[in-house]
Amino acid sequence: MIMRNWQVPLEENLLEGHVACQGCLGALAMRLMLKGLGDNVAVAIPACCWTIISGDVLYHALKVPVFHTAFETAAIAATGIKAGLTMRGKKDTTVLAWAGDGGTFDIGLQAISGAAERNEDIIYAVYDNEAYMNTGIQRSSATPYGAWTTTTPAKRPEDKPKKDIIEILAAHRVPYIATVTPAYPEDFLRKVKKAKEIKGFRFFHIFSPCPPGWKMPSDYSVQAARLAVQTKVFPLLEIENGEKYTINYEYPKEVPLEDYLKLQGRFKHLFKTPEKIEVIKEQIKKRWEYLVMRHKLTHGTTDNIVRKVFYK
């Protein structure tokens, strides 16, 4: 088979006919996740866009079983499923908790903390579209500074930086944390395959642009995700045992943050207050410096960070 840019399995565990919005990277994220995990998988999905996407009670969009659970319970429902499957002799099944940012950063954090601290043998993945999209774009603690949502209107946009969920998980010393985005599918799949072989609590932070929620044409979502990585808004990382930090990738050229912001209507108002854009740039810079410091502590050098235009 020839696919010049990628080495991805052709097996599809996401079926056509699911009802995600046009250009939904949350749907693409699931497609890639299941390409990586295969079909020996059980999924727990709390209240989130995926409650709808997977089809109503008559239909199902995945070739793997899904248990729909309450908003705040993805981590623990997955834990229960894992325990149940283990007791029924299905010890090698990967159990995936699949939640949005609201169900993760906010209401679900307690159960995540519990499962992470106990090092439950599950993969927890958050597809982060930076607001409560399923209920109509309300801010979550994953909403970035400066962003418009229906509860942070443009006249008073979000005034706090995004919650650093990765650091919270790192503080739990879980065996594996990865940040991924569908714009970098091979990086995504590589990490999924790596995580699959690890026992214990594994966390995926998936950056998943949402065209309606970000006031963005639907064809821009992969580009927005790519720009988020290029501008360091969303660095691609791995954190092992809460200590070993690896920055996987740094775009070799300087990309102005504005390129990322101007793609999205939710940041439109910011261009009237350029000082707020500077605030974001400062946040990004500090976060990056911190990550570089952690990377150096781990590896002794930053030379091993991949610096290519086309990262895969």
Partner: protein, 367 residues
């Protein structure tokens, strides 16, 4: 309790009574029943676009395609692709002005692709293996090509390719190009080997009119500079300009085409200007790494490395982006190429936006 077989189906089942639902709220059918293609107001279509190299080339060599074939591991097919438009790639390798490289979009990224070298290297495979392009269906017509210039060599080549029986009258083929005897012999032997009758003597084109259905010559003046017709409808004339060898080859090619149209009884048309080429702005450069240009290509490794630098503007080279980025799994990968399933494609446009070479385009849906 009613029996609860879990039957997975993609059929719509109407819920008309309790018994159509399981005891427990679990789905037993797949979403394949949702033809989400109905959501779409634009559809992505895979449509070959012109590249600037191709448009700049007098011979309109389909550069993207032969490089694609070469780098795909099909160098012989790549060589034949060249030969469809360029009769003498080893001569263009040596003598062409390479306007393709001047037009190459990659020039705006780092450096233009070494197209001339790639074309020569790939073309050489055809020389070594005795490959020729596919001929058009035979018209059963005889054509005489009279003259020594490279334009006539090209005319003979293309007249043969267009399915005519060709006799080439040339006492000194490729005269005036400064080629060595070996080079001349190499090219003439190729023509002979393919099936062109070569008679090494000079002839007066007019004397051949009765014997042949048409004559092409560089010994007469041309009437129509676009179709190379002369006042005599049976005689077509083209002379080399000696500014750019590809352009001189093109004259021969165009003259042969006019003869072809003439012999088929069609109207002899001039060449239309090529469609707009994919511009640099249409290229998604995030999918390309800056790479040093390889100026001279001697090995297959070098050829593939240089070939991989090609943006393949407007030509699907199976990069896989559209397949990989489709959130709806509506693109399948069949025989190395994407196939859009319009039953499910929602028309989000990601595949078009992420197509690095603008070969996928969005077409509005009409009703």
């Amino acid at each position: 309790m009613a029996k609860e077989p879990i039957e997975f189906t993609d059929k719509v089942v109407k819920v008309e009574s309790l018994n159509d639902l399981p005891e427990v709220p679990v789905s037993q059918r797949f979403t394949l029943v949702n033809k989400t293609g109905s959501w779409r107001n634009v559809r992505p279509v895979l449509e070959e676009q012109n590249a600037p190299c191709q448009n700049a080339c007098p011979l309109k060599v389909w550069v993207q395609s032969f490089i694609d074939l070469l780098t795909r591991g099909k160098p012989e097919e790549g060589a034949i692709e060249i030969l469809r438009n360029n009769p003498f790639p080893l001569l263009t390798r040596k003598l062409c002005k390479a306007k393709c490289e001047i037009a190459c979009n990659r020039k705006k990224y780092d450096a233009p692709v070494s197209i001339r070298e790639l074309e020569g290297f790939t073309g050489n495979i055809a020389y070594e293996k005795g490959l020729f392009p596919k001929r058009e269906e035979s018209l059963g017509k005889k054509v005489a090509v009279v003259g020594n210039s490279e334009t006539m060599m090209s005319a003979a080549y293309f007249a043969y390719m267009y399915g005519m029986d060709v006799t080439l009258y040339a006492s000194k083929p490729f005269d005036g190009l400064g080629l060595s005897d070996d080079e001349v012999k190499r090219e003439v032997d190729r023509l002979k080997k393919w099936g062109i009758k070569v008679i090494e003597e000079d002839k007066d084109p007019d004397t051949l009119k009765s014997e042949f259905d048409a004559v092409i010559t560089d010994k007469k003046d041309v009437e129509n500079k676009l179709t190379f017709q002369t006042q005599d409808e049976k005689i077509f004339a083209a002379k080399p300009e000696r500014k750019d060898i590809s352009r001189d080859f093109y004259f021969g090619k165009r003259a042969a085409k006019s003869v072809w149209q003439y012999l088929k009884g069609e109207e002899i048309t001039k060449d239309a200007p090529p469609p707009r080429a994919v511009s640099f702005n249409n290229i998604v450069t995030d999918y390309f790494e800056p790479e040093d240009r390889i100026d001279t290509i001697n090995t297959m490794e070098e050829a593939i490395a240089e070939g991989n630098r090609c943006f393949s503007c407007g030509h699907c080279n199976s990069c896989g982006n559209c397949y990989v980025f489709c959130p709806d799994a509506a693109i399948s990968w069949v025989d190395d190429f994407p196939v859009v399933d319009y039953d499910y494609c929602k028309g989000c446009g990601i595949c078009v936006n992420e197509c690095p070479r603008s070969v996928l385009i969005l077409v509005p849906e009409r009703g």
